[in-house]
């Protein structure tokens, strides 16, 4: 049917009216339950370890501030902070965190706690990587060209893995072959892939303890001091992003590094095993 | 009856559809008040003629003059397959009246009246699309009649109906004509044409080869094409 301009405009008008009416439904949706909340960009490993589920209710009960955690890789979390989409960052890549503050995106970095990385791999350990020396383990895996799953997602864990390769004298970017598999995804998906392919992988202990789909994988390398994984917390700079909830955000940070918060962190256990070791106030 | 200008006059009417000349310089004049049956073989252009006169198809060339003065006659059309809206029989008639600009307060009574005249009062509240084929075609006639057209076009209105339903439709068409509406109808049913027609227009290859009073046509068609058509259609004769 040929349409007159008038009919077209009348229809368009009706359309806009309908869309506006529908949008009103959206706008009048009841406000979020908690008016006082902060958004924390954190890492998949902390979220998936179950720490937040344990920790946050304690803080929320005490302060009345709800904490909304967006779990991302450390790289993505830092970017979220740079864009001003979070109030607080809770991540684990000290080098990048220091730079974040130095560049003016964050106010001040507080060390909070550490956990440790482990190397998991198939029970029969074809590369004979088992031991307590992470560099030796990686060298053996590379020498045997045994399957290894890397997160390759610019997360804190990925950054740590790259540091270990370098320290072991291996230029992974150059030496990687088909045995080195880059999943480009979070810790859990990478472990799912490793479990499916019976491959080695570097993971934080917390995620591993919470991980169910282990298949034939077991911990092979652990206990090396170099495997410690330091977490830091920072307020996103309100000077750059005026909407940042600085009082509430700082209140959360202050609580985390307070004796009470530190004790709470130490109290989180899976199967009686402590996952995170508070070390606020140190120079880590 | 044919005093003054004809109700409708077509001159040199040509319609080209998809590269085919469906109408090819057709001339036709329709006096008021009569019942005209348009006959012709498949593809002769019967349906296209009705649609063009009714304004659904734009002529490629030629012109249509109404009343000799250009005032388009109030008109309606009934198709082979009635198209009913998903609402009650009554609401279908009311819809047509609303489109025609009939004020709301009188629509229902006029619609009920039209349904009564085609014998559908009992199913006024039923959903139009669940009515039988014959009932739906009578509803289409009621919808057209309610508009009080000066001229009504019918394109093979009984072609998909059983004989009983077709007879009902014929009765209604006759009643509409008796009430003063000009009828222009196509059919392939020669018995029906004899019963309903005052005059016959015979189409061949997009032209009207003759326009004759019905009695004369069936006895002595003027054009050889019409003679052949009648023979072919009536082998038992």
């Amino acid at each position: 049917m040929e349409m007159t301009a008038r009919a077209f405009w009348r229809l368009s008008l009706a359309w806009v009216a309908a869309a506006t009416a529908a949008s009103t439904i959206l706008a009048t949706r009841p406000a979020e339950a908690a008016d006082r909340f902060i958004t924390v960009a954190s890492t998949t490993s902390t979220e998936q370890s179950g720490l937040f589920k344990y920790l946050l209710p304690i803080f929320e009960k005490k302060s009345g501030i709800a904490v909304h955690v967006v779990a991302q890789g450390t790289g993505q979390a830092l970017d979220t902070g740079k864009r001003g989409d979070a109030d607080v960052l809770f991540v684990h890549n000290r080098v990048a965190e220091v730079k974040f503050v130095a560049d003016g995106y964050g106010v001040k970095r507080f060390p909070v706690m550490y956990n440790d990385f482990v190397i998991v791999g198939p029970k029969d350990d074809p590369a004979h990587a088992k031991g307590n020396d992470v560099l030796e383990g990686l060298k053996k895996i590379a020498a045997a060209k045994a399957a290894f799953c890397s997160r390759a997602d610019k997360s804190g864990t990925h950054a740590a893995e790259l540091r270990y390769w370098k320290a072991a004298g291996i230029d992974i970017a150059k030496d990687k072959g088909p045995w080195y598999r880059e999943t480009g995804s979070g810790m859990g998906p990478t472990l799912n892939t490793a479990s499916g392919m019976n491959a080695y992988a570097l993971t934080d202990r917390a995620t591993w303890l919470n991980f169910k789909n282990r298949g034939d994988l077991v911990i092979l390398v652990e206990g090396d001091k170099r495997l410690f994984n330091q977490y830091g917390v920072m307020l996103v700079n309100p000077a750059r992003h005026p909407h940042v909830k600085k009082e509430a955000g700082q209140q959360f940070i202050d609580w985390l590094v307070s004796p009470e918060g530190q004790q709470a962190i130490a109290g989180y256990k899976i199967n009686g095993e402590q996952l995170f070791f508070p070390n606020a106030g140190t120079d880590n | 009856m044919a005093d003054g200008a004809p109700l409708l006059e077509a001159r040199g009417l040509t319609v080209v559809l998809g590269g085919v000349r469906a109408l090819d310089g057709l001339d036709l004049a329709l006096a008021p008040g009569l019942r005209t049956i348009v006959l012709g073989a498949n593809g002769a252009g019967k349906s296209v003629l009705l649609r063009t006169l009714h304004g659904l198809v734009a002529p490629t060339a030629g012109e249509i003059r109404w009343h000799g003065n250009g005032r388009r006659a109030r008109q309606a059309m009934v198709f082979q397959r009635p198209v009913m809206l998903r609402r009650s029989a009554l609401a279908n008639v009311e819809y047509a009246l609303a489109v025609a600009g009939v004020p709301r307060p009188v629509r229902e009574s006029r619609a009920r009246d039209a349904l009564g005249r085609v014998g559908l009062s009992a199913v006024a509240g039923r959903s139009a699309r669940v009515l039988s084929g014959g009932e739906q075609q009578r509803l289409a006639l009621a919808r057209a009649w309610a508009l009080e057209p000066e001229i009504l076009f019918l394109d093979e209105p009984t072609a998909s109906l059983d004989p009983g339903a077709a007879a009902e439709v014929e009765r209604v068409v006759a009643a509409i004509a008796a009430a003063g509406t000009r009828i222009v109808m196509t059919t392939h049913n020669l018995g029906q044409a004899r019963r309903l027609a005052d005059e016959i227009v015979f189409l061949h290859a997009g032209r009207a080869t003759e326009q004759t009073a019905a009695d004369r046509f069936f006895e002595h068609p003027l054009s050889p094409e019409a003679e052949q058509y009648l023979k072919g259609e009536l082998p038992w004769k």
Partner: protein, 234 residues
């Protein structure tokens, strides 16, 4: 096979012993998807109807764009809205990123093309049937659109349900703009993604079974409505 069976067992357990948290997730999924379907429908329906009936310059291009948007990866849609809604983006002042409203916006954007494309088909088919009769009666475009929308209302309702299904099963965009925040923007699909990444595949699939159940119920309702309307209205 054993894992799939045990997933159904877990799903059953989840339903019978549902805790507030699970119901919260299920309810949030339904609520957001309904709102998204309503908004996406309110925009996609007239769009599809106009494209189905009217002939105007650019119509073909619009159809191509609409059809292409059907296959648009949802994560791209999510990314676009992430950049729009981010504090550093043009709509950052609204502070919608990582809120349920952001999810609704992204879902609605995904619902619009599917509703518009299906509506166009429905209206075009109906128009093919009605066009001559409508023009014979002298019906204008605006009234023709209204009439067709009304006459195909039951089919269009099922189109709306298809939009709901699209919204409810959406994960990529929802994850990106919602952030999968526990108790705030965690819906069924992102919860499934989370449980999968935790390696708890049976629980993930158990949640999936509940989601499938909801979508199944919606489709059964759609089917029932069509059957009923066919009997009632032909």
């Amino acid at each position: 096979m054993f894992e799939i069976l045990s997933s159904f067992e877990i799903a059953l357990g989840l339903i019978t012993h549902a805790d507030a948290e699970l119901w919260g997730i299920v309810w949030l999924s339904i609520e957001l998807s309904v709102v998204a379907a309503v908004i996406g429908g309110a925009m996609g329906l007239p769009l599809g109807a106009i494209v189905g009936i009217a002939r105007f310059p650019g119509r073909r291009a619009l159809i191509v764009v609409l059809n292409a948007m059907l296959g648009l990866p949802s994560v791209v849609v999510g990314l676009v809205f992430y950049l729009l809604l981010s504090r550093a983006g043009p709509l950052g002042e609204w502070g919608l990123l990582f809120t349920p409203k952001a999810i609704v916006i992204a879902q609605a954007a995904l619902v619009v093309p599917i509703v518009a494309a299906l509506t166009r088909q429905v209206i075009e088919d109906a128009w093919a049937e009605y066009a001559e009769q409508m023009r014979s009666l002298g019906v204008g475009t605006a009234r023709a659109v209204r009439t067709l929308l009304w006459d195909t209302r039951f089919t269009l309702f099922t189109v709306g349900l298809a939009g709901f299904g699209r919204a409810a099963s959406e994960v990529g965009a929802v994850m990106v703009v919602g952030g999968n925040i526990d108790g705030v923007t965690r819906v069924m699909t992102t919860a499934i993604a989370l449980e999968t990444s935790k390696g708890d595949l049976p629980l993930a699939l158990g949640l999936g079974v509940i989601l499938i159940g909801i979508v199944l119920a919606v489709n059964a309702a759609a089917y029932g409505i069509r059957e009923w309307s066919a009997r009632r209205h032909g």
